[in-house]
Every structure is written in structure tokens, then in C-alpha cells.
């Protein structure tokens, strides 16, 4: 019973993440890729994303301070960020990146700053949510794999 409760909880949580627009179809596809040979693929990729993104965010922050007029640099940094974001299906982060890039196009530093704050916020929220999601998933753990392999 506990198992099915947990399972229901994970499913509900994931559904919430989708409904609130944090994630998109790409995340499903990632889960799809997960099988016996790489049981923790999703988590691995997401970890990678957060590591990478933290570095990128620092880079962007520095770039905004140091080269406030170098929009090209900003744009390419955000582009990378957006690329990794879309790889894990982080929809809201991705969208905010697009906004940022639009501001870059308009050469509006103020807009960029605002957008950047938002990106950071989204990033943090996502990180927190995904962490709890994986936490839950780990509890469901092995049986989930069994289910997915049968599927």
C-alpha cells in the first residue's frame, strides 16, 4: 500500500511539474531513455544540468557586471544555458532564456538584468522541485524500474 501511495505521489508530482509548465515532453523522452543499462540516466543528466548551469549562471552574472554592453557574449552564454535547459525539458527556464535573448536583441541591459533574476529564480525553483521529485523516485526505486521495463 505504501508503495502504491508513493508511486501515486510521484506520478502526481510529475503531473504537477508538467501542469505548472516547469517541464515539457523532452523530460518524458529522457525518462524513456532510462533502462537497465543506465538506470539513473535522468537523474544523472539533471545533475549534470544543474552543475553546468550553476557555472553558466555565474558566468552570466560576471558578464553582466564586467561587460554590460557585450550583448553578443551575453546572448551566446544564455544560448548555451537555454540549450542545456531544453535538453532536460526545463520549459520555464527555457522560455525565460528566450525572453533574455530578446532583451539582448533589443540591447536593453535593464531588461537583461530583470530577466536574469527571473532565470535564477526559475532555476532555483526547478532545482528544488526536481530534487524532491528524485528523492521520492529513489524511494519508489527499484520497483519503478521493474514497471518501466515491462512497459
Amino acid at each position: 500500500m505504501e508503495y502504491s501511495n508513493l508511486r501515486r505521489q510521484t506520478i502526481f508530482m510529475k503531473k504537477n511539474l508538467f501542469d505548472q509548465g516547469f517541464l515539457d515532453e523532452q523530460f518524458n523522452q529522457l525518462e524513456e531513455l532510462q533502462d537497465e543499462s543506465s538506470p539513473n540516466f535522468v537523474e544523472e543528466v539533471v545533475d549534470l544540468f544543474f552543475k553546468d548551469s550553476s557555472r553558466l549562471l555565474t558566468n552570466i552574472e560576471q558578464a553582466i557586471d564586467k561587460y554590460p554592453q557585450d550583448f553578443y557574449r551575453l546572448d551566446s552564454l544564455v544560448h548555451q544555458f537555454k540549450g542545456s535547459g531544453s535538453s532536460i525539458g526545463a520549459l520555464r527556464v527555457k522560455n525565460e532564456c528566450s525572453v533574455f535573448k530578446a532583451h539582448c536583441n533589443d540591447r536593453s541591459l535593464e531588461g537583461c538584468r530583470r530577466s536574469f533574476q527571473k532565470i535564477k529564480r526559475e532555476h532555483a525553483t526547478l532545482k528544488q522541485k526536481l530534487e524532491s521529485y528524485f528523492q521520492l523516485l529513489r524511494q519508489v526505486g527499484p520497483r519503478e524500474h521493474a514497471v518501466s521495463s515491462r512497459k
Binding site: 523532452q26 518524458n28 524513456e32 531513455l33 540516466f41 544523472e44 543528466v45 549534470l48 548555451q80 535538453s87
Partner: protein, 1000 residues
Amino acid sequence: MGVGGGGGGGGGGEAGEGEVAVRKRWRVKVRLSTAAVVVWVLASAALWAGLHWRFRRAALHKAEEGLVCMCEERARMLQDQFAVSVNHVHALAILVATFHYDKLPPALDQDTFAAYAARTSFERPLLSGVAYAQRVVHADRESFERQQGWIIKTMKHEPSSVQDEYAPVIYSQETISYIEGLDVMSGEEDRENILRARATGKAVLTSPFRLMSNHLGVVLTFPVYLVDLPEDAKVEDRVSATAGYLGGAFDVESLVENLLRQLAGNQELVVNVYDVTNHSNPLVMYGSEIPLATPSPSHTCMLDFGDPFRKHHMICRYRNKPHVPWSAITTPSGVFVICMLVGYIVYAAWSRYDNVKEDCRKMEELKKRAEAADIAKSQFLATVSHEIRTPMNGVLGMLDMLLDTELKSTQRDYAQTAQVCGKALISLINEVLDRAKIEAGKLDLESVPFDLRSILDDVISLFSSKSREKGIELAVYVSEKVPEILLGDPGRFRQIITNLVGNSIKFTERGHIFVQVHLADHSNLATEAKTEPVANGMNGHKDEASAISTSVTQNTLSGFEAADSRNNWENFNLLLSYETNEMPYGSCSDKVTLVVSVEDTGIGIPLHAQGRVFTPFMQADSSTSRNYGGTGIGLSISKCLVEIMGGQINFVSRPLVGSTFTFTAVLRRCDKNAISDNKPVLLHPLPSSFKGLSAVLVDKRPVRATVTKYHLQRLGIASEVVSTTELVLSVLSGSNGSSLTSMGNKQPGMLLIESDSWGSQMDVSIHARLQEMKQNGRTHLLPKVFLLSAAESDKVKTIHLVDSVITKPLKASALAACLFQALGITQPSNENRNDSGSLHGRDGSGSLHGLLLGKNILVVDDNKVNLRVAAGTLKKYGAKVECVESGKHALSLLQVPYKFDLCLMDIQMPEMDGFEATRQIRAMEGKANEQADNGDDSGSESPAKTAKWHLPILAMTADVIQATHEECTKCGMDGYVSKPFEEKQLFQAVQKFLGPSMSS
């Protein structure tokens, strides 16, 4: 002429001109035409006047000529008669001279003279009388008076006064005896006359005066000389020789009167005779003095009465004004009328021409409008179809997801059918849009491998519900000689068949629709054998070839007669027999010509409409679309498509019997092995679990039986056909084993019975017999009984007696599903999963798996996350993936000879971006190839060499816009994939490079 000129002005209507311009031109035209009409009428009137004048003048001229002629005639006659009279007077003068003076005593006296003159007066009809006056000088007067016994009196009957000389009348004709004794010299005119006469010696005339008879007349006087004088005698000699004077009065008036009376045309003429000795004062000799009121043409003739001193002339004129001849009015009037008519004709022709031109212009305008409407229609179609496609995609997506859930096999079949139908709908919409392309000749056919049989199954399932509803048999048969996999455009092929079957089903209420596919060679052979022009068929009127037929109805699929009588069973059988014989049909040629025929037993096409069946938007008649719906575009599209496929389409149709559409299509043969593992996209592998099973089929219709057999055969089930249930029992019990040659001793596991062979008493008996047989141990395994039924209703009736009911139309996959259920065979799970399992269904992952399995792929991306995801995805499809994070690193790995089959490269990378990296890779490849060429002998196999060192590089990009794509190709990339990967797009991109020919 003027009218025509007016018409020429209104030419060349440019439709673009405004209404105002048109109206203006119209007004100008009206004005021109009015002017032309007026001018024409005036011209005609002028012509009339001219002609009239001419005729009048001619008439007048003729009248004048007549006048001249008559006048001359009268003058001449008058002159002649006058001359005759004068001659007689002359003769009398000579008589007097002879008998009065030459004789002594004179032999003449008054009595003799009077008698003679009276007796010869007929010779002088113009003279009222003649008299002789003797010249008496005054000296002789007394002696003369004495001798005569009277005194000389003047003309007034008074005794004459003393004169130089006298000329008393001594002899006179009796008619004028009253002048005897009068001295004629006392009269003024007479005296003058006498003097002139004796001076000239000729007859002289007085001017006209009133005679005593109150007629106008002249007096003629002749001198009588005593001696004969020569012509040139002097006046004095003549005077002295004068003895007397002979005179006579000419009654000119009666003279002319008589004369005129004798001549024709007297009434018309007015004749006047004048003495014009004194020109200024002409004296009237005859005729009224009063000139005629109207000046009419007159003619004047000179008259010579022998007196040179006196001049006379005659004036003739018509009494009445010469009337204008009728012809002078009628002829010009006729000409005028003709002119008017001609004018009217020209006007009518012109206005007609004008109208036609106006109509033409209008039509041009309408045509332009229609064309604009056509464009609008196309745009509308595009918009609407787009709007339809959007929700349809939703429907299809949902169906996709539904298929991912746990479903019963029937449910799955329904859902799949729904999905297939939805897809067909979308493709149909696209195809309707393609019509524009077809018309513009821009349609290119695909060339991909496909399974014809499964396409036909799809088409059948598309219409299965409809056919069931209507109770029509819908069946498909593909000759086994038709290769399993063909290379061509499955979409278009399907479109044609869908269209034809759709039409058939629309117009068929009973009977059957039968789709069959044969190879053209066989079809031709069969028809040649029958000496019939085209062949594609299978129905029959007679059935001599098949002993198993017990039917008395038409031997077609459903028993109804079909339009194309060539499609009889006999022919079909012939066809089948040709096919079963080994024909050396294919191995030599790459091309396969298919003959597809769609036969129905519907209402047929009316004969009058058969000619325009393939015209777009034309249906048999307008009521057709009312009763049956549809646009009428389908057949025209089909025709276009067939023609693009290098085939022909035609049909045979008999009203109320049915139609058979037949088309040929040229497709390419495709080696099944070459594509089996790479492109199963369009192939729906049938379950193989039934291989080796056998069945007995009860069907009294050989054609239908053949179809069922065909489907069973596709599932690997061998079948035997018997015509009645009784035969089945004997077969099963083994008493009539001879008919089961193909099955040998194997016991059939299935018994399929057509619903119409299923008699009410029969079913029970079969059941009983089967049970009995089992109990007897003669059959260790009871065969499962299936009922083949076209209608759902049969199900209920017989459900408890049979193991399962297979609903028609038959198609292999549905048949398989049903058999699975009934036979209790579990579907192999992997097959099931492949068929419908994973998220992206049959057309995504399976194929990618096939493509990527075992391939070495280099992924270049500076973004670790992306790298990881890409690698994970590719690995999932079985590829070996190597990841690098920069272009430089990639270059170091990429040295000829490659170990990679494919390189996926991010574009935006620090240090060296994707474009630059690709450029360098290509440069390196170029060098390597050059060296290889130099080492080798370049030439014959150079393309193979260059192909050897060309690593397919695909860009990974998030923004899939055209500009990026172009840049990719510019720097030597082979294509792009979206990031993150979409399976379909990835497959499409990769397919080109990792296809069977590329992967060694």
C-alpha cells in the same frame, strides 16, 4: 461605307477600363451610328433625286425630240402644199399670159377664166380663189373703162381716184367674184405685193391679214409679163413688160388646220405660224396669239413659201406640260428602298458584331473574375484544410496515446482503424490540395518501398463500416505474382484506390465491390487468350470451368452481375492459372506494371455522362451530388495521378448494372532483403504464428472463395475450398479425402463458412456431426468453426453455434486478430510491442533502431547536458556514441580512415564552431581523396572513391530555420537535426546516410 467605319471605332475592349470609359465609348458609338444613319439616308435621298432628275431629263429629251420631229414634219408638209398651190397659180399666170395676151383677140374672158379656175380649184385647195388684175396706166384708164363697160373702183367699192396706174381685176374665180373691177392697187398690201412681184418676177406674199372670210390669210401675187423675160432681166424691163397680176388669197388658217388634222399627235401639239419678215414684230399667221401659261419646250421651224422677201416660221409646242414618266419615280424609289435595306443590313450586321464584341469583352471579364475566384477557392481550401488538420492532429495524437494503453485486441484494432482513417483523412486533404500541384505539373512522386497488400487492407478498413452498413461485399485480391514490396509512391497509389473504392461504395446499394491487382503481363495474356481488348477481371455469367459452383446467379463476388463481363469467373480462373504457371515475368525487368481494377455493382454511369467522368467537378448529373454528395474532383485527380505514374485509367460501365474502373501503374521492383531491416516504416508485418495451419473454407462462390483464400494465405494458412457444408463433413470424416490434396493428411484446424452457405438446419447438423466425430475419436482435435459474415446481424443468430464470427470485409490483420482470439494463440509479445508498443509507435523508434544499430557516431557539443542527452538517445537506438566537447577535439579524432559512420555537430561552440570544424574536416577529406585518386588511377571508380571519404555531418541546431540550413550546406554539412532530437526528424535526416547502400 460610313456605317462600317463607325463600327471599326469601337474595337479592343480592355477589361481593365472603368465603367465610365465603357459608357463614354458607348455614347460615342451611338452618336457615330446616328450620324452614319443620317448620312446614309441623306445619301440615299440624294441618289433618289439624282436618278429622278436623270429620268426626267431623259423623258424631256425624248419629248423634245418627238416635238422636233413632228414640227419638222408639219413644216415640210405645209411648205410642200403651199408650194404646190403656188405652182398652180404660176400655171394660171402663164395661162393668162398665153391666152389673154398672146392671142388677138384675147381667147380668154371672164367666163372661161372662172370656169377654168373653178374646175382646177382642186389643185389649189389652199387658195380661196384666184383673180387676174390687168395693169392699166392712167392714160389707158378711159379706154379700159370703156372697153370693160365699168369704172375702176377702189377696194372700198368707190370709184377710184386718179392714180398713176391701176390694177383692176378683170377675171376672177366665182368664189371671189365680188372683187371684179376693184383696183387691187388701192389696197396697201396688195399694192406692195404687186410692186414687189413685178420687180422680181416671182410669187410674193403679203403679210397676214384678215381675209374677207374673216380667216387669217395671205395674198399671193404673180406678175404676168407680156414677153418672156430672162432670169436676169432688170427691174425696169420687168416693170415695163408687166401686163397684169394674178393673185390669190391663201387661207392659211384653214390650210394649217386641214394639214394638222391629217397628222397624228394633233391633239398634243400647239402649232403657231408667224410671219417674221419684221423680226421685232412677228405677225401671227396661225394659232392663238396668247402664249401658253407655262413655258414649255418649243421648237421653231423655218418655212420657205417661195417668197424670199418674206420670212415665216412655225413654232410647235406641246399643249400640255409633258408629264413625268412613272419610271422616273418608281425606279429611284426602288433604288432608294434597296439602299435603305442595304443600310439596314449593314447596320444590323455592325450592331451584331458590336454586340458579339461586347459579349466577348464581358466574357473576358467574367473569365478573369472566375480565375480570381479560382485562386480564392484555392486559398480557401488551403486555409480550411489547415484548420482541419490542426484538430485532426489532436485526434490522431490522442489515438496514439490510446494505443499506448492496455487494450484488448479488438479495441486495438478499432483504435488502429480509427487512426488509419484519420491519417487517411489528413492525407486526403493534402491530396486535394495537391491537385493544384498536379495541374501545374509540379507534383513529384515519391519512390519508397511499400507493401501494396497492406495498403489495400488499409483502404478496405477505411470503408469497412460503410460497406457493412450497406451490406455490400467489399473484397480485395492481390495476385501472388505481385511482389510483396514495391518501390513507388504509396500515398498516391492509395489515394487512387481510395478514391475509386469510395466512389464505388457511394453508388452501390447491393452486391459487391471488388478490388483486384494483377500484373499487366498476366492480365494481358488472359485477355489475349479470350481475344478481348482489356482485362482485369473476374465475374462470370457461366461457370463451366468450376465444378464446385452451384449457383445459378451471376458468378461474381456477390452474385450480382457486373458491368465488365470480362470479369467472369472463367476469365479470373484463367488469370489465376496463368499466374500459377511459372512465368518468366520479372527477373529481367526492373519495372512492374500493375493492373488494378475496382469493380462494383452500383447504379453505373449514365451513357451520356460517361464522356465527362474524368472532368473535374463533373458528376454524372447535378442530381448525383444531391443524392450522393461529393465534389467530383476525385476521379480527375486519380486520372492525373495515374498518368503521372505512367499508367492509364479507363472504365466500363453499364447503367443499373455497375462500373468497373481499371488502371495501370508502373512501379519498380524492390528487393525485400535490401530494405527489410532499414525501412519497415510502411510495412506492417503480419503475425507469423499461423504458419503451417490449414483450414477448410465453405463457399459456393469461387470468386469470393479465392479472396478468402488469398487472405488466409497471407497469414500462412493453407486452405481448401468446398462449396457446401455437406462436403465439409465428408472431408472432415475423411470419406472424401481426395479433394484435400493440398493438405494431405493434416487435419484442418479451422472451418470457415460463408454466411450464405449456412443453412438453418445445417448448422445444427454440423455441430452435431462434429461432436459426434469427436466422440468417435475420428478427429482428435475439433476444428474451430468460423462464420464469415458481411453483416453484424448474423453474429447474433449463430453466436452459440460457432466459435467466432469474422466480420467482413476481410483483411489480413483483422482476420489474424480474430483467429488469435478464437484459437487462443497468444500473440508473440515482441511482435506486439513492435507493432504498437512504444511511445512513437511503429514508424519511429523501430526504424531508428534499425538504422542506428551498431553505428559509430561522433557527437560534438560543448554543452555537457546536451551531449549527455544526445548520447543517451542515440545509445538507446543501439548506436555506439563517442562524445567530444569541442570542434578541435573532434578534428583530432576525425582522421582518415574514419571509424565513424556519422557526426552530429553543434553549431555554436567556443573556440571553433560547427561550421568551421566542418570546413576543416571537408578540407582534410578532400586532400585524402586526392591522394587516393593519385595513388589509384582516377577515373572509372572515382565516384566511389569520393564517396568513400565523406563523413556525413549533421548540424544540431535548435532553430530550424531556412537560413541556418543553407549555411549548413554551404560549409559542407549534409543536413541538420533538431535539438533536442525529435525521432521522426532524426530518422528522416539520418536515413539518407545510413541507408542500406551506405552502410557496408
